[in-house]
């Protein structure tokens, strides 16, 4: 089944809500706790990336008994150097975002750690598409 959520840039008051709904769905579907944890971390970090960096986007979860796919598509500045963005601690978040406790440069590295498969496509000044999969064993 598919769950799809609209995510707005800079909307910190509702940030994380889509990830919470995905978690509830995974729990109802009886996914393994380990699968659930990995998928929540990916969904949350991907959602936050849209909130912090992009103008707007969508967060999608495709759930099957054997696999959870998280897809985050946004319209935004894009990522010029993906390998650099994957490094722990590297962040382009402006100071006011960091002061809120976000933008520590752990978003993509955390996603990478949790995902069994990961693909990121980005075009500067257009947007980013992140696709991650977690296998339910």
């Amino acid at each position: 089944m598919q769950l799809k959520f609209q995510v707005k840039g800079m909307d910190f008051s509702r940030a994380g809500q889509a990830a919470t709904k995905i978690k509830k769905a995974l729990q109802l579907a009886g996914m393994d706790p380990a699968t659930m944890r990995k998928a929540i971390i990916i969904a949350y970090e991907a959602e936050m990336n849209i909130v912090i960096h992009a103008y707007h986007g969508t967060l999608t979860a495709n759930i099957t008994p054997h696999k959870v796919e998280i897809i985050a598509e946004d319209v935004g500045p894009g990522i010029p150097d993906i390998p650099l963005a994957m490094q722990e601690g590297y962040s382009t978040a402006p100071p006011h975002i960091r002061e809120m406790g976000f933008g520590a440069g752990m978003g993509l590295p955390n996603i990478k750690k949790s995902a069994d498969e990961l693909d990121i496509q980005s075009e500067v000044n257009k947007g980013t598409k992140l696709w991650a999969a977690v296998f339910n064993n």
Binding site: M1, A29, A34, Y44, E45, I63, N110
Partner: protein
């Protein structure tokens, strides 16, 4: 035998079938059916929120009564640290302990003392096991532990594998009593004086094997019986052995104050606990070493079975902590294995829609569809806590679409309109105008 023991029960006579409790249950474990609240056993975590909210006092906690003391040759009272905060300043801990003896117990062992020992064990574990996932979560509040089993199974590995102060107190008390009396361990009864139903359940249905505590008696019951005996002479004088460090465990933040190492976070109140656990679940708070989490607002002094106002108790407890702050650390085993939880805490997947993931997913999809069509008012009239919960109940076969009074009303309205329309139709033989039309005739409306 039922699968789960629960301390929280319903008084059928008092329950009016209002929907206050279903709305406040953190695990959506209550439904109203046939005018009475029903608890879904595998979901209930015995937090006691429903006891607090029920306007008709229809929710109660089953605890042991003082009569049970007669089942043992020698009995030891285990007062929870929060017990000290229930009395006026002139009623010193020493008088409280003496009165417990006057009440019929042969001896007293303070849980606060065990709390000091557990504080040591937690500090030790944090130093030695640096590779464990952070933050570690306290195992002291049984309602929080069960909340994690039901709603946050992926966080079970965060729970520190150390027994609760109550369990440790029961063990230490029994060992001490055996030495003192020469009796067999089975002949000694240990009784926890409990501020909450969750602890009763922990005693009756421990996560591993058998509890070291033989019974749990409501603090409110003991308090009432004790007030009459405060002036009575004790069979022998008892002095409190616990220091402020252990006594402070009875209020929110006290556990962390006792640990005093690393970066510590304290959260109290079940709904606040849930939001912090959600944050940990999505990978946050890794900079915190230890989380003290208590289901009741204010900590154990805010328990549903506690007689005194928790804010008053908090002040009194604060004064006692200061008064006994100079106390020497108690005499307890400095061997970590003494405190270690022997078996891992299992998950309790009570929220899944079906055992088979394929079926569960199909039901989930169906529930999403139904939920989108329901009015979304979360009124509770259907007996489920929200429209979403009703949709989940429907796909599992526990409820019907017609339980929604708004949908029922709409359908009745449609039906009524149809009936009016039908009522206006009459057969031509009963006097309706008959117009001959060019192509052969028929009725016109």
């Amino acid at each position: 035998m039922q699968q789960y023991f629960h301390s929280v029960r319903l008084d059928e006579e008092k329950c009016k079938g209002c929907t206050n409790c279903i709305k406040h249950c953190p695990t959506e474990a209550i439904r109203v059916r046939k005018g009475k609240a029903r608890i879904i056993e595998e979901r209930c975590i015995d937090c006691g929120e429903c006891i607090r909210i029920c306007p008709n006092q229809a929710k109660l906690a089953i605890t042991d009564c003082l009569e049970k003391l007669k089942d043992f040759k020698y009995t030891v009272a285990l007062p929870a640290p929060s017990f000290y905060g229930q009395f006026k300043p002139e009623v010193t801990p020493s008088r409280v302990l003496s009165a417990l003896l006057a009440l019929g117990f042969h001896d007293v062992f303070e849980v606060a003392l065990a709390a000091e020992a557990v504080s040591w064990a937690i500090r030790h574990y944090m130093e030695v096991c640096v590779d464990r996932p952070r933050p570690l979560i306290s195992s002291a509040c049984p309602a929080v532990v069960r909340l994690i089993q039901v709603r946050f199974p992926s966080l079970l590995e965060h729970i520190i594998p150390i027994e609760s102060p109550m369990e440790i107190a029961g063990r230490m008390a029994r060992e001490q009593a055996c030495r003192k009396t020469g009796l067999e361990p089975d002949e000694i009864g240990t009784f926890f004086i409990t501020p909450c139903p969750a602890k009763v359940t922990e005693v009756k249905q421990p996560s591993e094997g058998r509890s070291s505590v033989d019974g749990a008696i409501s603090m409110a019951v003991v308090y009432g019986a004790l007030l009459k005996r405060l002036e009575m002479p004790a069979p022998y004088p008892v002095a409190p052995r616990a220091s402020g460090v252990g006594i402070g465990w009875g209020r929110a933040g006290g556990e962390n104050e006792a640990i005093k190492a690393g970066s510590l976070l304290a959260v109290d109140g079940i709904h606040s606990v849930i939001s912090v656990l959600e944050e940990i679940e999505r990978g946050g708070l890794t900079d915190i070493d230890y989380l003290e989490a208590q289901a009741c607002t204010g900590g154990c002094i805010g328990g549903p079975l506690v007689p005194q106002n928790p804010f008053v108790a908090r002040v009194r407890m604060g004064n006692l902590v200061k008064l006994y702050s100079a106390g020497e650390p108690g005499d307890f085993p400095r061997d970590f294995d003494y405190y270690r939880l022997k078996t891992p805490i299992p998950a309790r997947p009570a929220l899944t829609l079906a055992k088979d993931p394929q079926v569960a997913l199909a039901r989930l999809e169906e529930a999403e569809r139904i939920c989108a069509e329901l009015p979304g008012l979360d009124c509770g009239s259907c007996g489920s806590p929200s429209c979403r919960a009703l949709a989940e109940d429907i796909v599992q076969g526990y409820a019907r679409r017609s339980y929604c009074i708004f949908e029922l009303r709409e359908r009745l309205q449609q039906l009524a309109e149809e009936m009016v329309e039908l009522a206006q139709k009459q057969p031509p033989a009963m006097g309706r105008d008959w117009k001959q039309t060019r192509d052969g005739g028929g009725e016109t409306d």
